[in-house]
């Protein structure tokens, strides 16, 4: 029992749980800029990071924050930033740089109402497609959505692990409701958290090729200052990191960036299913809406309707297999979202079985309550 006593039971909001998750994952650098509703992440990390020997810095804007995060990661320190819509627009420039230079980093976007300054203190899920396609050019990226305080911890850890393993930026999409909802959470012991670190080179410096392909598709990553002097550039580069304009070097390089993610699909694509075994009506939901959806499905079951929930955790790459299976199994799919249907577009794209897909959207800054989804389920049952 001694071990259990040492565990800390905390009353945390989502933003705070992200901080604990990041620290457990080994994050030791944070650069950010104040923005509602993400600011608590900065505030708590400014206290916790120096205690852990890490660094917190408030930069002059989100462009700078993302630059500093990439710089820190190149120096060998796990790094992240946290922001909301307007700041998320600004980080896109250097996010693309992290994609092409394969620098591990985590970006938390606590979604609020948009566009522009929009609704700073209200909930929304309007940044879903931006998280996938916000920076210019074809690029690989992983987007994970959180729906509870416990998710905020575990998915943040997962985000760091995937980022380190695949050398790709990972975006954690939270929202105002998840960020500010307080729930009890038992902090795991350090040894209970699985932490993945990037793999360093195992050759002498003179043999090191910083962007050479290997069987994982993920090049070994040396940190600045470790004796492996190399060049990092946002230009398309050859395996030594130097700019190239040779078609025979460009395409294999860009293809590798995408293929390394494809190779990891089974562990990258996360979803949770609830009451799906015999479901005829399936609700697809993520973020705070997944909480309402679960209650709605349970309410519908109480009324004898065979409803189930597929909660999407990985939004991109889209968990096609799980969505496809649910669509084939069910008569009707309901996709409630706090936007005008950004994920339902993706689900429609996957729908090869002619399943009826019903959108349910709110863009008025209010959450979708369980009753609203229950009504939708009843109306299609």
């Amino acid at each position: 029992m001694a071990a259990d006593n040492s565990k800390k039971r905390l009353l945390l909001q989502g933003n705070e749980a992200i901080v604990y998750g990041a620290l457990a994952a080994g994050c030791r650098f944070f650069a950010g800029y104040p923005i509602t509703p993400a600011t608590e992440i900065s505030e708590l990390l400014s206290v916790k990071l120096p205690q852990a020997g890490g660094t917190f810095i408030q930069m002059e804007d989100e462009i700078a924050s993302m630059g500093a995060v990439i710089g820190a990661s190149l120096a060998g320190v796990k790094a992240m930033t946290a922001t909301s819509g307007p700041g998320f627009s600004l980080i896109q420039e250097n996010l693309g740089y992290a994609c092409i230079t394969e620098v591990p980093c985590v970006i938390v976007n606590v979604m609020r109402g948009g566009p522009s300054t929009g609704l700073p203190t209200n909930v929304a899920q309007g940044d879903v497609l931006m998280a996938r396609w916000g920076t210019h050019g074809d690029h690989p990226i992983i987007v994970l959505a959180v729906s509870s305080v416990s998710d905020c911890f575990s998915i943040t850890v997962r985000a760091f692990n995937l980022s380190e393993k695949y050398r790709v930026p990972v975006i954690v999409l939270s929202d105002e409701i998840v960020a500010h909802t307080r729930e009890c959470f038992t902090l795991p012991n350090v040894d209970e958290v699985r932490v993945v670190d990037r793999i360093g080179p195992n050759v002498p410096p003179e043999w090191y090729k910083p962007y050479a392909a290997n069987n994982r598709g993920v090049p070994d990553m040396a940190a600045f200052g470790d004796g492996y002097r190399h060049h990092v550039t946002g230009l398309v580069h050859d395996e030594r990191g130097f700019p190239t304009q040779q078609p025979h070097e460009i395409e294999p390089f860009l293809m590798r960036l995408h293929e390394k993610i494809t190779k990891g699909f089974p562990e990258i694509m996360l979803s949770k299913s609830y009451l799906m075994a015999d479901a005829e009506i399936c609700v697809f939901a993520y973020g705070c809406v997944a909480r309402s959806a679960l209650m709605a499905v349970k309410n519908a079951r109480a009324q004898g309707i065979k409803a189930g929930l597929l909660q999407l955790i990985t939004l991109f790459p889209v968990p096609r297999k799980e969505i496809d299976a649910a669509l084939r199994q069910c008569r009707v799919a309901i996709v409630p979202e706090l936007n005008m249907g950004q994920m339902s577009r993706e689900i429609n794209r996957i729908n090869q079985s002619g399943t009826r897909i019903v959108k349910y959207n709110r863009i008025d800054g209010q959450m979708i309550a369980p009753d609203e989804i229950t009504k939708q389920i009843i109306s299609v049952s």
Partner: protein, 277 residues
């Protein structure tokens, strides 16, 4: 004694990089590069400990050719990346190389905040008064009345004085040199790199191809030689009138002050906060 070029070439240029470089014949960037390498050589900095970050533009291509930890970043953002590197690994010597448009237009905000923060980084700004790489548009340092591809009728805005801007923003060390005064530039860069705190060296350089040609300033030799007359040592300038300084600029050390360095202050916070857990 000045170290010979062959030693610098052998020791500090990347031999596995596919030369030639991107610079036009006569460009001042090569002179700045030589000065930077001689300064690093004279300071005996181990190559593994040096990080050189750059932005986007002709001078920023410098990082491709030199054998350190090099980081060719996005336009205007070199100092933000450099800040991350320095904070994450304070033992590294971090130098940022930027152009005038890079550092004071798109990156102007980062530049003044890096100076205000007094983080232990050296910023080298090669000021050629134009956007050379994109073909000669007006930059924040293009003189009033000058012609460029985006001011064919003459420029209606006024130029920044980069070094003075850095002084006002709070940099601990600020100097200005030119590509004509190469030996002097070696000394300034040495001083800047060894300075504890944020140090800035503005280097007045020539873009005879884009800026010089459109403004009838002559070829590379004529443009570079003109700095001999236009550059006035800081001390001498103090006794000169505004009228006498017209068309001229100061060279030398504009500012050298001691103040707490944020990187070191933060380290103290790390030590203290550990006891507060």
């Amino acid at each position: 004694m000045v170290v010979d070029a062959e030693t610098i070439r052998q020791e500090y240029l990347r031999h596995d990089k596919k030369f030639p470089h991107v610079w036009c014949p006569g460009c001042g960037n090569g002179i700045v590069l030589g000065s930077l390498l001689r300064a690093i050589h004279n300071l005996q900095l181990p190559k593994d400990d040096v990080v050189v970050a750059s932005g986007i533009g002709c001078s920023s291509r410098m990082t491709t050719y030199i054998d350190f930890n090099t980081l060719h970043t996005t336009h205007g953002r070199a100092l933000t990346f450099a800040t991350g590197v320095k904070l994450a690994k304070p033992q590294l010597r971090v130098i940022a190389v930027m152009g005038d448009g890079d550092a004071t237009a798109i990156g102007g905000n980062h530049f003044i905040h890096a100076a205000r923060r007094n983080i232990n980084i050296t910023a080298i700004i090669v000021n050629n008064s134009t956007y050379g790489m994109t073909g000669g548009q007006y930059s924040p340092t293009t003189p009033y009345g000058s012609k460029s591809t985006t001011s064919t009728y003459g420029h209606v805005e006024h130029a920044f004085s980069i070094a003075e801007l850095a002084v006002t923003a709070g940099a601990a060390f600020v100097a200005r040199g030119t590509v004509y005064h190469a030996a002097h530039l070696d000394t300034l860069l040495e001083q800047a790199i060894s300075k504890r705190g944020f140090s800035v060296v503005e280097v007045i350089s020539n873009c005879h191809v884009q800026h010089g040609r459109r403004n009838k300033l002559g070829d590379a030799v004529k443009m570079i030689a003109s700095y001999q007359e236009r550059a006035v040592p800081v001390k001498k300038a103090q006794s000169m009138t505004e009228k006498e300084m017209e068309g001229k600029f100061t060279i030398g050390v504009l500012c050298d002050v001691e103040k707490p360095i944020s990187t070191e202050e933060y380290d103290r916070i790390r030590q203290e906060s550990c006891h507060m857990v």
